[in-house]
Amino acid sequence: MFFKHIHIRIRIVFLIIVFIFILIIAKVFYIQVIDYDKLNNYAKNLWSRNLPIEADRGIIYDRNGVELANNITTTSLVLIPNQIKDKEDTTKKLAEILGVSYDEMYKHVSKRTSIERVHPEGRRLSYEIADKIDSLKLKGVYLVKESKRNYPNNNYLAHTLGYVGIDNQGLSGIELQYDKYLTGKSGAIKYLSDAKGNKLNLSEVYEQPQDGININLTINYKLQEVLERELTNAVKRYNPDHVIGIIMDPNSGEILAMSSRPDFDPNNYQKYSKEELNRNLPIWMTYEPGSTFKIITLSTALQENKIDLYKDKFFDGGSINVDGARIKCWKHGGHGEETFLEVVENSCNPGFVVMGQKIGKNTLFKYIRNFGFGQKTGIDLNGESNGILFSLKNVGPVELATTSFGQGVSVTPIQQITAVSAVVNGGILYQPYIVKSLNDPETNSVIKKFNKKRIRRVISKKTSKEVRMALESVVTNGTGRNAFIDGYRVGGKTGTAQKVNNGVYMVGNYITSFIGFMPANNPKIVVYIAVDNAKGITQYGGTVAAPIAKTILKDSIDILSIKKPKGASEKEYQPAEKKYITIPNVIGLERKDAIEQLKGLNIEYSGSGNTVVYQTPKAGERILEGETVKLMLNN
């Protein structure tokens, strides 16, 4: 045919065109079907805007479900600058309500961002202010729910609970340590927006925030309350540099209460210094323990059969010579001949030096380490210290001697109470812990339970029993008698340690401590109290710390339902034989000499001079041992 040639070429062109169409349709198919998910996600991200809704932080409870940290719901201001048409007017109104300058507010209103928070003036708004803003019905101005952390008991347990920053992020304590559990997942109101930021009138999606996980602590609210009260009283009475208190369940390592002074209010943490906020003294502070450490020496000596409490005797002449150094007993002139039980009762330093010598440095230091000193206990809190021990190669006879009665070692309060718990619970060292369980925020059912963690057996049951008995007798007959509770069995040990500053012992500046437990035959509770630099009183553990521990132990009887023992006991029960003392005349004497004369009595001063000008009760009166004599000093 005439046109055949043209027709073939037209057909070729048409086929090419059809082919390209198929290519295009295939590409569309690829985009719309195969790449659908990816592109749809990208596009949804492009179109959608989120108004975040904060999740509630997990609630922290005590062991019985009392809230220690919870949340208050507040509202915050959120701006979507693109939706604000009349920027001047909106700025003016908001600046007025929030008390912010016009210029500063204008920066927020005109910021080139999809969502702008007015920080910090627009956060945590009061109901009145939120209501005012809401009633203006301004376009692009939103109020969203925010959750503010609240500590209903203010300073109570502050260092352990910690505190949170403005964005509800944990900054210390449990709040920091368990931040990832406590922090929930924010929800959002999602809406679709055009490219200019205007809300499209299509469906809004509400994405529910996921609240954080609740935490149950091992803390007993009531015991904590008692401890807080007693520490506050101690501060009032003695104006010390620090006070530290820990209460532990010796059979598990659970912390029942823990506190220290100075403390802080986590609701207003900004008012405190970094040191005050972040030093959780019961786990952070290290110092020479003094005589409470003798419990370790005693346990070691008994476990290794180096002494017999009743049969072995020791003569205390007031000091002991170790490798040329004279180590004095705290009692002028010494205790004379004593059994080792009396050495313990009297907290006699030379007696413990001998005990240490009998044990030998290798064994003593092995036990010290086995009791957990010189290393972190591993409690589930931030900021724990290691403490310092002599390294074994540096331990000579003098170091061995001082370590035996608690000098030259540096320990933390938590190490001491953990070690003593092991001593009295039958000999097993447990890792201390404070979080009992993690709980579901909806149902509060347990997600994860933390159980006691046995680290090792340190001494035998029998040794433990013997030490308990000795320590009970310290309270009944010895230096710890200020912790004696009539009708109950209390064991304990006092401690008075000189503080070291720049490698030199400070004069007249002690950490007085007491560690006590109850009931002495089967301890349910161990209490540790340390008072740093108590003022206006002779600084002995027996006079300062023991009475505090006694009050706490007394109150814990009801709280822990501790039964009164009936006759049967490890040692024949003897009530303390309280002696009456005739008060000598100390008026006109130097303070130091007056203290010497009034041994065995509690002394309170007023005035700052060095000579006694007045005393009460007067000379010649008889009072019970351990009662208080008030002295007035010249100025």
Binding site: I24, V28, D35, N40
Partner: protein, 362 residues
Amino acid sequence: MKKKDMVLFVSIIIISIFGLIMIYSASNIWAEYKFNDPYKFVKNQGLFLIIGLIMMNVISKIDYNIYLRKSNKILLGCVILLILVLIPGIGTVRNGSRSWFGIGSFGIQPSEFTKLALIIFTSKYLCNNERELKDIKKGVLPILIITLFIFGLIMLQPDFGTGVIIVMSIIGLMFVSGVDFSFFIKIGMIGIVGIVGLIAIAPYRLKRILSFLNPWQDPLGSGFQIIQSLYAIGPGGIFGQGFGKSFQKHFYLPEPQTDFIFSIISEEFGFMGIIIVSVLFLIIIYRGFNIATRCNDKFGKYLAFGITFSLAFQTLLNLMVVVGLIPVTGVTLPFLSYGGSSLLITLCSMGILLNVSSYNKM
């Protein structure tokens, strides 16, 4: 005179009306924002559509042989307009190109008319110089020079898209008229050398050109339009978001009623919509080629083929850009994109095509 091609006629009416509806859907948000009148674009386009359909009907009744006689004058007129439009004060600048004669808010692009004029001229030239076509120098070169001259004028505006369509339409015509295959291979090679040369002069062009392969490399620059287009097409899925429910028209895709209207169609009607639109185009193209094939007269054949091929090429060029197969060129989609003079000239050329069809043997 026999009856005109009714399948083609109905297809044109359907696709034109669909185009008008889609222009409304794609443009109402922008129109509301810019002119406070959501119907602004659709009213303009509607007016052109009515004028265009009337003109198509009128032209479909005018014997196409009149163009054979007037082809020189028509082309000369268009070339004069192409020169005039370059003079500031006469031609107006829109979207960076001085391609328009502005009459109020309406605009006329002389390059669109030139496209049709050159197809008419070339069709005549091919009829008259059938013998010389075997000789490249004598037969092909003259028409090629005229075409490149016009391409040059259009590139001064500049309007690369229309220029390419014109050149390709003429090359398509020459291909059908029986010019040797080797010639087209040579042209293709020259084209490649030209492109390589342009890139060598300014290497940044390569990056721009290749950005269509991975638009996410420069999502706010050269890749912006294609990404926004993909964000429209992709979420459309198989059945689309539904009529009027495009998200991308909410200021994400710039001027969605023009070059990228196919994206909005994809978004609202999904893959199914795309198949239907493609089939409509294929019917029109098939009928156009069919008219060319069945035409007894060579001029009519070339004319029908040239018009149809030009339409097909423009359609494919637009679609390939929109789906990301080739770089952005700035070509509108016939019948569907907003643009008065483009629609007008498309409908006029369809009128010519319909007229050719009415002489067809059955």
